[in-house]
Amino acid sequence: MKKLGFLVAIGVLSLLMPARVKAATFDSSVTNGSAGKSQATVEFTDDASQMLQLAAAPDITFPSQFADGRSRQGLQASKLTDYLTIFNNAGVSAWSVQVAASGFYNATGGELKGAQLHIAQGSMLSSNPDDNPGMLILDDILAQKVSPNATPQSIVTATNSTYREWYLYLKPSQVSLDLPETNVVAGNYSADLTWTIAATPK
């Protein structure tokens, strides 16, 4: 009887435990005082929704410029849509977002040498600013200014975050581009911005 109670307790506990293992099999002996062998199989499911997710990144638009050979310092973005958005359904307390930028190239592989993007320190919000303007959270989240290049740089670092949603709010005036004095060929120049969310030691 004690064994039965023990098995029942195990079964109840297994339903309450946070699942980590996909499947476990218990090979247990007997019930109701009679000899024999039975097998209890318990399915542990891993909640796939519990993820730390980098959901969106800002889309940055700069105004068109004349290819007049002159340098531009601090050319401000004309438009920013979307926010750097992090969903933390995994309850991960320490994470960061790093950003890296490739060089600017045109369709024929010509490089806009020395072009440098700058992103100023933004504000971290715990809800979408389009839905809830004015919501500002600063605890344990560090937003940093960056000048992205090929080596990733941290733009946001959380050391003890308990919120489930984070939005990095930036104004267009906080994103700028330096263009060197150069004989640039007219056309579109493209760079990749790689946003990496890192669950790593801080």
Partner: protein
């Protein structure tokens, strides 16, 4: 006269075709998560922090959730942790130059698939096999498991798109043989020299963490003084930095635009970590 005006107008309109710099809207449709094993030191972290033994072999798992309506392929790469020149720990170098003080390259201990395919609207997991070297080590060895969408080699850039967002994930993989780390951080100044980065010129102090431990909350104050002068130049302060175990990085001074006049200069650099718990001070001529 009319022809001249027409030509000027034409030239002006041609030169307007120039640096159109629009951005491209981008939403991310995948996420990953570490499946933490029983030898995980702290179950609250989102990364692997494993207590291991010499020669130990172990399989660990990572889940990938694909929210897209089509099957997706992802690149997987485990890399050694290094220090980027902005004072950030980075995990993106596939072929790093190994520091002489490094116990071993963590990437060499891991066997994993290079590409993982996940069906539409599905969560799958992939395995990474670890094989710990026979020689014991103190402190920690740190790396990162990088996951990013697989790109076809012939993938073309979209016309007119100039800032293209890409999304990547990195999960820390930290190995240790002691539950409590007793190794203390240390800092060395290896050299100071001019350095060019993205067509900008800096004076850079090459700093070295020779210990198998992260330098946390790392703060540096520095400047140079020309011989025979007291004027501080290229004064640079940075805080909230991190240094990876057994790594070096270039601490760039100035904003890349200021040139020093010819002469002999002396670097003065003070650094501390963990709110002043550890302190270092260096002077060196250049």
């Amino acid at each position: 006269m009319k022809l001249k005006s027409w030509l000027v107008g034409l030239l002006a309109s041609v030169s307007l075709l120039l640096l159109a710099l629009p951005g491209q809207a981008e939403q991310n449709q995948y996420a990953i998560r570490a499946v933490l094993p029983s030898n995980q030191v702290d179950q609250e972290t989102g990364y692997f922090d494993l207590k291991v033994s010499p020669k130990q072999e172990q399989t660990i798992y990572v889940r990938i959730k694909n929210e897209a309506a089509t099957k997706q392929q992802y690149d997987v790469a485990t890399n050694l942790a290094l220090t980027g020149d902005s004072g950030t720990i980075v995990y993106n170098q596939a072929k790093p130059k190994l520091d002489k003080t490094l116990p071993f390259n963590i990437a060499d201990t891991v066997t994993a698939p290079k590409i993982v395919t996940v069906p539409a609207k599905t969560t799958s997991k992939f395995a990474l096999k670890l094989k710990i070297p026979a020689k014991p080590f103190d402190g920690i060895v740190l790396g990162g498991i990088n996951v990013s969408p697989h790109e076809q080699a012939n993938q073309k850039r979209q016309a007119g798109v100039t800032l293209q967002n890409k999304f990547a994930y990195v999960l820390g993989l930290q190995l240790r043989e002691q539950a409590n780390i007793t190794v203390k951080p240390d800092l060395k100044l290896l050299k100071v020299a001019p350095r060019q980065e993205n067509y900008r010129n800096y004076i850079a102090a090459k700093l070295h963490n020779p210990r198998s431990v992260i330098i946390h909350d790392f703060h540096v104050d520095s400047y140079v003084v020309k011989q025979g002068s007291t004027k501080k130049q290229l004064q640079t302060t940075k805080d909230k930095m991190l240094m990876a175990p057994n790594s070096t990085f270039h601490f760039d001074m100035g904003d890349g635009t200021m040139m020093l006049t010819p002469g002999t200069y002396m670097l003065h650099l003070k650094a501390n970590s963990e709110n002043g718990k550890y302190k270092w001070s260096f002077t060196k001529s250049l």
